[in-house]
Symmetry: C2
Subunit: 410 residues, 2 copies
């Protein structure tokens, strides 16, 4: 038997309730399995937690975490900005937010994407001197003033983060020691300079690490502002707030991070006096809100082990199968959504329908006894789920997506 | 500097030619980058090699390796059968091959997929006793005789294979010690029993390992036939032929495998006297035929390292980025398709446009010097490429696909 992560406290279990209804209800609403159910009440709770902890900061949603259109439309009025990573995401964002509230980061922005962003009045977070030159040339060619910020590749890195994005040679951002020069260059060229974007890592669960990183990021922004000689209108401090996927991990306490950051902002460099600050979050806002529901299609024994074979797997939940940036397969929290309360348990593996041993949603976990027709719930499915998965793989029907709990008082 | 795999000998390089034209030509035909180009001449060469080595065997194509419809249509008349893994793949296969030439394997077949398969006269490779019961019940309900084969989970495993599918508790197939009983059961229930499907692993590059596995598979099929007491019409011996992705790997010599198998078939058990035998291949037939072409959008230096940032990456080529079943990132063969002959070289990393450090197509390789606008070619892109990748991730436009060299004499 292997351990699994902890089911988010947002959900009542035994039996599972999502938005006040059981899993079979949502499967019936969708008309078929598999499906993703996103509970907007959980997202609203995270936004409220953010507002309570970081009252003076802007909140940006990084839509790459989950670009499901109804979710995006419901979240847009609740956040101050949207961050996009491609022309496709930009089109989604513009449907729900004005261009002035959108920023576009990402290496390898194509010329057609830069044109689209500049025409839409979107802030482009420049990833290199070459990209700065291309954006300026496009602005010139179209008679438009591009809104440009500098994405900085900081010396610092976010300790203990699942994905380090600073402190090393990187495709992301302009090395800190050249960032001020590129900022000066775009200002001198007549662009509308929007400030800095400094992102040191993601999926961190240690508040002290985030506190230290934010302090260093603030100090770096101050030094860069001095070097540029112009007050940056906005400094995007990045995000990095993690969620607890695996055994032993616990939710991040954001209150103490907010307190430390407020103190840091009180004492910030004079060159940042009138600067606004933003935190950009994706996974932390939506990750725990999503539940993936897939139906047991077969139950089989093989050499003493029991397998529940479900109608969806790594084709919809690549990360849960351990195939997206993880070296060792660990178990996400999983349950049998249709089990009777206090049902007896057994040790089983949950595998998807793909003809590959990689397709395993849960490896030898203890679950309520289940049979063909039961629904398996995989939690932590709200971020980097469907859109980050190879859903065409092996030709299965794409899953349904439902947003529930839209109404604030439902 | 890190090594990379060897470019398949099928392609002339310096400069790269695909189907007699250069990469820029195919990008112009597609109208945009990124794109996959599949060279049918390479696929025909592999089919010819198979026919030369295994003259008495049926050749099945496992379409999960590459379900691109024009490729499928061109291959269908050249192979004896198509193997599918879902209802979606079955629909693709039925467009180009009669149901009697199609088999359907895969755990977690849904009832609607079983109905579709039984109605289409497709052979269902049963993965469990439970699936056998469901298929028989559906046949009964619809007044149809299902064509059923038994997929066997063998005791043996394919040594050195990239993906072992036998020799352990498994979602795939019925344990060998129960397979004959399930075969008897479906025969007694009036099904059209088609035989056995025995698949021990995939992506093997050691001919001796394949020879041994085929010999053991043949022996197992003989024992199973005796136990059933009925001659199996077909035994699908599986596949497992690998292709050389990584440094130091060399192409598989299939001639000696064919010789050994021919000898084994000469001496096969009497219970298999009139049985036909098939080998099922996907990756080996099409993997080396594909080249992924992506354009350099940015060239940047960071802390002494050079990055070429391309307009496609792990969203189209998940396996090449090291995120599909591999623990350590190793480099696929890659080149600059648009480099002048004998251009000077440099050490660079090729990264895609996604905002994640996972998106790396080549790590510190030696390539001809390239700049914005150049085309990067990633080889070994014909199998488990686009369809096995999260192409919606971060909202980039899906890549184009081209089949070239369709005409036998072009």
């Amino acid at each position: 038997m292997k351990p699994m992560g902890t089911i988010p406290r947002d959900f009542q279990v035994d039996p599972l309730q999502i938005g006040g209804r059981d899993a079979a209800h949502w499967a019936a609403v969708a008309g078929d399995t598999p499906l993703f159910v996103y509970d907007m009440a959980v997202v609203r709770d995270r936004i409220a937690r953010f507002r309570a902890a970081f009252s003076s900061l802007d909140l940006h949603y990084a839509i790459k975490a989950n670009p499901f259109a109804p979710l995006l439309a419901t979240m847009a009025p609740l956040v101050d900005g949207l961050d996009v990573a491609s022309g496709g995401e930009l089109a989604l964002a513009l449907a729900v937010k004005p261009g002035a509230r959108i920023s576009f980061a990402g290496p390898g922005k194509r010329d057609d994407e830069l044109v689209f962003a500049i025409r839409s009045g979107v802030t482009i977070n420049l990833e290199s001197a070459g990209e700065a030159a291309r954006a300026l040339a496009i602005g010139e060619r179209h008679g438009l003033t591009p809104r440009l910020a500098i994405r900085v590749n900081p010396e610092l890195e976010l300790r203990g983060s699942g994905m380090r994005m600073g402190g090393r040679a990187s495709p992301f951002g302009i090395d800190a020691d050249r960032a001020a020069a590129v900022a000066r260059h775009v200002i001198d060229a007549g662009a509308d300079w929007r400030g800095f974007h400094i992102f040191a890592g993601s999926q961190a669960l240690d508040p002290q690490a985030i506190i230290e990183t934010q302090a260093e990021t603030l100090a770096l922004a101050g030094r860069l502002a001095d070097a540029v000689g112009v007050m940056p209108p906005l400094v995007n401090l990045g995000g990095g707030f993690g969620i607890p996927y695996f055994p032993g991990e616990v939710p991040l306490e954001v209150g103490i991070i907010g307190n430390a950051l407020a103190e840091g902002l009180e004492n910030r460099a004079p060159g940042l006096k009138d600067t606004r600050f933003a935190i950009e979050l994706g996974r932390w806002l939506v990750g725990e809100a999503g539940v993936y529901l897939t139906r047991v299609v077969d139950r089989k024994e093989s050499r003493g082990e029991t397998f529940l074979v479900t109608d969806g797997g790594m084709n919809h939940q690549l990360a849960a199968s351990g195939n997206l940036g993880t070296v060792v397969k660990r178990n996400y929290p999983v349950t049998i959504a249709t089990a009777a309360p206090n049902a007896p348990t057994e040790t089983v593996s949950v595998v998807g329908p793909l003809c590959t041993p990689l397709d395993r949603l849960a490896d030898r976990v203890t679950l309520p006894v289940a049979d063909v027709g039961d629904l398996v719930a995989v939690f932590m499915a709200g971020a980097y789920g469907l859109s980050a998965s190879p859903f065409a793989f092996l030709g299965h029907t794409p899953p349904h997506e439902l947003l529930v709990g839209q109404s604030e008082h439902s």
